[in-house]
């Protein structure tokens, strides 16, 4: 037998093929309508610029839709999902090949291609799909992780896919057996079915079974195709679309700007106020629950669930007449949940299909704050203080220059040739514990001979808390005031110890025409260490672990500079917590949350403190004023016999460097 002529008869044993084509019509109509409905939902939304830079977008597709690199972060799930998805891809190609040969007169399904691909590879992947389904079933029904959504739809999808594969192998096996297929060995699993059937069925029985199952399979598949767009299976289409239209900017630049001149209303309380991309997000969700698993609020038992927020918005979106209010329409979209978000963006980092959960929360906060003036009392006090005094710490009697006592610090107007501006920030100036960090940073800069200046009383809050709480109007006011001052003093380079200031200067100020170079203090100090201008001479014996601030690490990709400072300040190797770098667990202070009184048993910082203490470290190193105070509170709340100090990396470095060997 000549392998070059290897093939099989398409539609063997089947007659009345026209019925199949006939049935295709309603299938495609129903499926098409399903897809159309999704399109209609997205069309309701406002415009968004998400089709620029196609080169980068295609790369995203390759990484995340093709290689599914985020899905693979969970090895088990990644494995079975790739089995199923790649299996489907292969089976679809195989079916397409058949269609081409059957309907378009091509002769692709021949020879070595037929043997290697259409027979062997397809068989292999068919089995992988079934193994994938079994692994998925084991997780869903035996392990039962909390983060999954347990619906009948999910069960049915798994069952139907398994059934289709089962049907496929049955058909193949019986064909092989009845036709004495010479190439049977190239389809090992079909061959197995053939041999097993030969033991219990006659050829006549196999023929009839084949006929019946073929039509059964057809109906199953067509029903599946028609049904899929109405289920989470639509993610096959929407996920790549969503990945393609993802936000290419760093996570710290995820929020939208508002044109106050033109906007008719502020924030979002109806679906039509979301952009089409927001609405596409809702349809891309596969209910995997990874965002829930990493959400710090959810982890400590609060109601906030990024996934449920998306799914409940999706449900509202499915009600075509829904132009009504969405806040409070569903438990996960309740104000209570909205005010629990720390804006850490762990949900966005975890999402395999690049859904943007956190910006939607901020959009809805904007509505509550700017349209209704309805938000928690303590946040109101912070906002009023920002308006009147340019800082959120209502009631403080500290001034912006108290920390300079005993140090020679120049105002930017007094130092014409300053290399860099040290932006102190509200925490660094007005919170007693954080003043020590500012002092350490200033002393390190002085020791290194850096010509730096400060804005002193001219500093106003960078605006980050206002923006995250949802008062975009106040944020813009603060940005303009700060930008005017920075321009007045012709500031070109800024360093700051606060990742929130860092993030907003880097990613958000440029949108208002204020562009300057900005570095986190750890980056600048690391540079000084590398240049030999800071020489730690008294490395500590302490065991240290570093907590990545969300706004520095995950949202801006700065992980190594602070670690360099830690490592150079201690003798031993620094300890890494399990949830670190882009998977760091929030301290609970962002998003205006440090201005909220959390219930004593639902505190995000305590959860992280437990994790830090479990490493056995003596020192928890941080790089953010919020993290510093939140983690100190968190550590103190754990009644421990041993002490764990919480220090900023600058303090750690200063401790190791303050004795200068002349």
């Amino acid at each position: 037998m000549n392998p070059a002529e290897a093939s099989r008869q398409i539609y063997w044993n089947i007659t009345h093929i026209w019925v199949m084509y006939l049935l295709l019509i309603p299938t495609l109509v129903v499926a098409g309508y399903g897809v159309y409905r999704h399109l209609q939902r997205w069309r309701r939304g406002l415009p968004a610029t998400r089709l620029d830079q196609p080169g980068r977008r295609v790369r995203l597709l390759l990484q995340h839709a093709a290689a599914q690199s985020r899905t693979a972060r969970d090895v088990y799930a990644g494995l079975f999902h790739s089995f199923i998805s790649y299996g489907f891809v292969v089976l679809t190609i195989a079916t397409t090949v058949v269609a081409l040969d059957a309907d378009f007169g091509t002769t692709i399904m021949r020879g070595w291609f037929y043997l290697y691909f259409q027979s062997f590879i397809v068989d292999l992947f068919g089995v992988l799909v079934m193994i994938g389904i079994l692994l998925a079933v084991a997780r869903r029904y035996f392990t039962r992780p909390r983060k999954l959504v347990y619906t009948n739809e999910a069960t049915l999808i798994l069952a139907v896919i398994f059934l289709m594969c089962l049907q496929g192998f049955a058909l193949e096996g019986w064909r092989i057996a009845v036709t004495n297929d010479p190439w049977a060995a190239w389809s090992p699993f079909g061959n197995l079915v053939a041999q097993a059937s030969q033991g219990v069925m006659s050829k006549t029985q196999m023929r009839s079974a084949h006929l019946g199952v073929w039509w059964f399979h057809l109906v199953t598949v067509f029903c599946f195709i028609a049904w899929a767009p109405y289920t989470k299976m639509i993610h096959v289409v929407t996920a790549p679309l969503n990945i393609y239209t993802a936000n290419l900017a760093p996570l710290g630049a995820s929020l939208k700007t508002i044109d106050f001149e033109k906007a008719e209303s502020f924030g979002v309380n109806s679906l039509a106020r979301f952009t089409w991309k927001d609405l596409l997000d809702l349809d891309a969700c596969t209910e995997c629950g990874r965002c829930v698993a990493v959400c710090p609020a959810n982890n400590v038992g609060k109601e906030l669930s990024p996934r449920d927020l998306i799914l409940q918005l999706r449900n509202l979106s499915a009600i075509s007449s829904n132009g009504g209010p969405i806040i409070g329409a569903s438990p996960a979209i309740s104000p209570n949940a909205l005010w629990q978000c720390t804006t850490c963006a762990a949900c966005m980092e975890a999402c395999p299909v690049f859904i943007e959960q956190m910006p939607k929360i901020v959009d809805m906060r904007r509505f509550l704050v700017m349209e209704e003036a309805d938000f928690p009392d303590t946040m109101q006090a912070a906002v009023m203080s920002l308006e009147k005094r340019g800082h959120p710490f209502s009631g403080t009697q500290a001034t912006r220059v108290d920390w300079t006592k005993g140090l020679e610090i120049k105002h930017v107007s007094e130092l014409a040739d300053a290399e860099v501006l040290l932006w102190v920030g509200c925490g660094g100036a007005l919170v007693e514990r954080n003043q020590a960090v500012t002092r350490a940073t200033a002393q390190l800069l002085a020791q290194a001979g850096v010509k730096f200046a400060i804005m002193g009383r001219d500093e106003k809050c960078s605006g980050d808390p206002a923006r995250r709480i949802g008062n975009e109007f106040l944020f813009e006011t603060l940005v303009r005031e700060n930008a005017a001052n920075l321009n007045k003093y012709q500031v070109r380079k800024v360093i700051t110890a606060c990742p929130h200031c860092f993030n907003t200067f880097k990613n958000e100020y440029p949108q208002y025409g204020a562009s300057f170079e900005v570095l986190h203090h750890s980056e600048y100090l690391a540079g000084l260490v590398e240049a030999g201008k800071i020489k730690p001479t008294a490395a500590s014996d302490c065991k240290v672990t570093f907590h990545d601030p969300c706004y520095l690490g995950r949202q801006n990709g700065v992980y190594d500079a602070p670690r360099q400072l830690v490592q150079i300040s201690i003798r031993d190797k620094a300890i890494e917590m399990e949830r670190s770098r882009n998977q760091s667990f929030c301290c609970g202070g962002g998003g205006g949350m440090s201005f909220i009184e959390e219930p004593a048993n639902l505190r995000v910082n305590q959860e992280r403190a437990r994790e830090a203490l479990a490493t056995g470290a003596d020192v928890l190193a941080v790089g953010c004023p919020f993290c510093l105070t939140m983690m100190e509170d968190g550590v103190n709340a754990q009644k421990q016999d041993r002490e764990m100090r919480v220090l900023d990396v600058a303090e750690l470095l200063w401790e190791a460097s303050r004795q200068v060997n002349v």
Partner: protein, 265 residues
């Protein structure tokens, strides 16, 4: 029902003491890092008026101020909080007018607006804290006056005024028109205006007058009283912080000091 609420714009009184300084020549505080804010008791008054309007089913609230051009911001914020109308009498020459001058200007403005049923002021301002403007205004208009009010109701055309005293409270019945000065309580904390209302407040009309337009002198002659000296008293106590190796020791030391004082009584 017509209500006029008088607002005063002052330098933020809550800046840290270390940032506060006075000009001993000009006899006023230096602005320094302080922003301009509406006096908190004036805001309490406006909040009381707004809540009264919500409870009683309707009233026209006009906010009025005698101040420099910057006082317009206080009035705009009043409009953003949903006052219905605003009027400013421009003070371009009186630095720190005495309370009688202020009362005379406000009286003239109120006569021009038409005497309302209720005139509300804060009990005193956070800068000079004089506490006389309300009473003097009542005298200028020949109206009854009640101070330290924190709650207003209306019953059959009469007003019910509840006011704080040093030992509790008193409830008065009043026939409008009447002048009240308002003090703070947990309920009249001023509301945060909605951003959209803040934006639209700048598009609303604002009546602006000069004192001459109201038939009074352009400048005061400080006939009532005059500030002759202003200074920041230097008062430094050195605090003894309780020392000790443990919390127990420190609290022990602290307790000893307390007992030492009490035993001398």
């Amino acid at each position: 029902m017509n209500i006029v609420v008088c607002l005063k714009q002052i330098l933020d009184p809550e800046i840290p003491a270390r940032d506060f300084s006075v000009d001993t020549e000009k006899l006023e505080a230096r602005q320094g890092s302080a922003s301009l804010v509406t006096n908190i008791f004036c805001e309490n008054a406006l909040e009381t008026a707004l809540q009264f309007r919500e409870r009683s089913g309707g009233a026209k609230i006009t906010v009025l101020s005698y101040g420099p051009a910057s006082a317009e911001d206080s009035l705009r914020k009043g409009l953003a909080m949903k006052a219905d109308a605003a009027a400013l009498v421009l003070n371009e020459s009186d630095t720190n007018p005495d309370p009688l001058r202020v009362a005379q200007v406000l009286a003239a403005a109120i006569k021009k607006l038409g005497i309302p049923d209720l005139i509300m002021l804060g009990r005193e301002s956070g800068d000079w804290g004089v506490g006389q403007t309300g009473g003097l205004l009542a005298e200028e208009l020949g109206l009854p006056c009640l101070s330290f009010v924190d709650h207003i109701e209306t019953v059959a055309g009469q007003l019910l005024l509840k006011r704080q005293t040093e030992s509790g409270w008193e409830q008065f019945e009043a026939k409008p028109p009447v002048v009240v000065t308002i003090t703070n309580n947990e309920y009249n904390v001023p509301r945060i205006p909605k951003v959209r209302d803040v934006m639209s407040s700048y598009r609303q009309p604002l009546e602006t007058w000069r004192p001459e337009d109201l038939g009074i002198a352009a400048e005061t002659t400080n006939q009532y009283y005059e500030v002759v000296e202003l200074f920041v008293p230097v008062k430094e106590t050195s605090c003894e912080f309780a020392q000790g190796d443990s919390l127990n020791e420190r609290v022990e030391a602290f307790a000893q000091r307390i007992v030492a004082v009490i035993n001398t009584l």
